[in-house]
């Protein structure tokens, strides 16, 4: 009788232990592991590396000279995402995107590139631009026309003193699932994150003709 009782209690102990262990294994295998959600954006030079951002390594860009970059974005959000890369033209006094308040730059937009990205997918494309026309107003230079990826663009007025310290700002915008609208940066859980890049350049002033 005592032998039977001990056999049953032993069986119950084995059953409960295996039930606990198997439940834990099942829970771990069924529940997806939480991972950090983020995007990566980058600009590469004409060699598709982080070098040679300017023709001849000279940041003074003459009129009509083509500058070739590669823009890229990688989705590490764990799900399909709609991404827009906004390319803006700014001078040194215009405020860049605000990382603290998550606000985009108010600089005028040159062009935007849209794409639906799978999880872990990288999207890379060329950005070929040149300065088509400028206007000189006293000490200031205004880029009045640019050619971006074979499209002529007339940017809003961005004056720069002696044509120095222009910059191209690249911002990433995504579709926010909560508000169902495009937002600067992305939402990871309850947190808002932003990412942006900028590359500085000068415009070479044409010599005055007499």
């Amino acid at each position: 009788m005592r032998k039977n009782v001990s056999f049953h209690s032993e069986s119950i102990a084995i059953f409960l232990s295996s039930l606990t262990i198997l439940s834990m294994i099942a829970y771990v295998s069924v529940t997806p592991r939480p991972k950090e959600q983020f995007f990566q954006i980058y600009v590469l030079g004409e060699t598709r590396m982080a070098e040679k951002y300017y023709p001849g390594g000279n940041p003074n860009i003459p009129l009509g000279v083509r500058v070739k970059w590669y823009l890229g974005a990688t989705n590490f959000m764990g799900s399909l995402q709609y991404v827009v890369l906004k390319v803006k033209l700014a001078n040194s006094t215009m405020s860049p995107p605000d990382d603290v308040n998550k606000l985009p730059s108010l600089a005028p937009m040159l062009m935007e590139f849209r794409r639906v990205l799978m999880d872990n997918e990288t999207w890379e494309f060329p950005l070929i631009w040149s300065i088509d026309e400028i206007r000189i107003e006293g000490d200031a230079c205004l880029i009045t026309s640019m050619i971006v990826n074979d499209r002529k663009i007339f940017p809003e007025q961005v004056p720069a003193r002696r044509a120095h310290n222009y910059r191209i700002i690249i911002e990433i915008w995504t579709l926010d699932p909560m508000d169902q609208r495009m937002i600067f940066g992305w939402r990871a859980g309850n947190e808002r994150k932003v990412a942006w890049l900028q590359v500085w350049f000068n415009v070479t002033m044409p010599k005055p003709s007499f």
Partner: protein
């Protein structure tokens, strides 16, 4: 006077086309956002990767159509813009249907997996209990048998010595 009336009619018609194009563009934009979010939900529910790749590719075609429609509208080709918007809308409706079906299938698969896990865990535990019980009993019986055999050998040796 007649010329003026014709001019006014053309102006009104152009405005109507432009307004209707703008309205349908907004509708298509909203539909595009819904399609992206639905596809995203399907992926979160565990939709298959191949299906998601197909959905993403079709969504990118819709993006291109919308961009071309925008371009046509900016160039004043309202008819062409309207045609492109209609194609995009049609495609987006297809994507919405596919994403909805995929999400439902993914939810169904996840629920089946949950049920299977809930059933399998106690069944496996029971099997482990039975097998372990048999193994333990076998091991114990073997050790008792070995002990008896040893005792018998000792007894025989004792008898021989006597």
């Amino acid at each position: 006077m007649t010329l003026l009336a014709i001019g006014f009619a053309i102006f009104v018609a152009a405005n109507c086309i432009s307004a209707s194009s703008q309205e349908s563009s907004t509708n298509v934009g909203a539909k595009f956002f819904s399609a992206v979010l639905l596809a995203r939900e399907a992926q979160i529910e565990g939709a298959q990767r191949e299906t998601m790749q197909e959905l993403a590719a079709r969504l990118n075609v819709a993006v291109q159509l919308l961009e071309k429609a925008d371009e046509a509208k900016n160039e004043g080709r309202l008819g062409s813009a309207q045609t492109l918007l209609s194609s995009a809308e049609e495609l987006l409706e297809d994507i919405l249907r596919a994403a909805r079906a995929e999400k439902a299938a993914a939810v169904e698969r996840a629920s089946q997996l949950r049920t299977l896990t809930i059933v399998l865990v106690p069944v496996l535990s029971a099997i482990i209990t039975v097998v372990t019980g048999y193994v333990l009993r076998y091991v114990r019986r073997r050790s008792v048998e070995r002990l008896f055999k040893m005792l018998i050998v000792v007894k025989r040796e004792d008898e021989k010595e006597r």
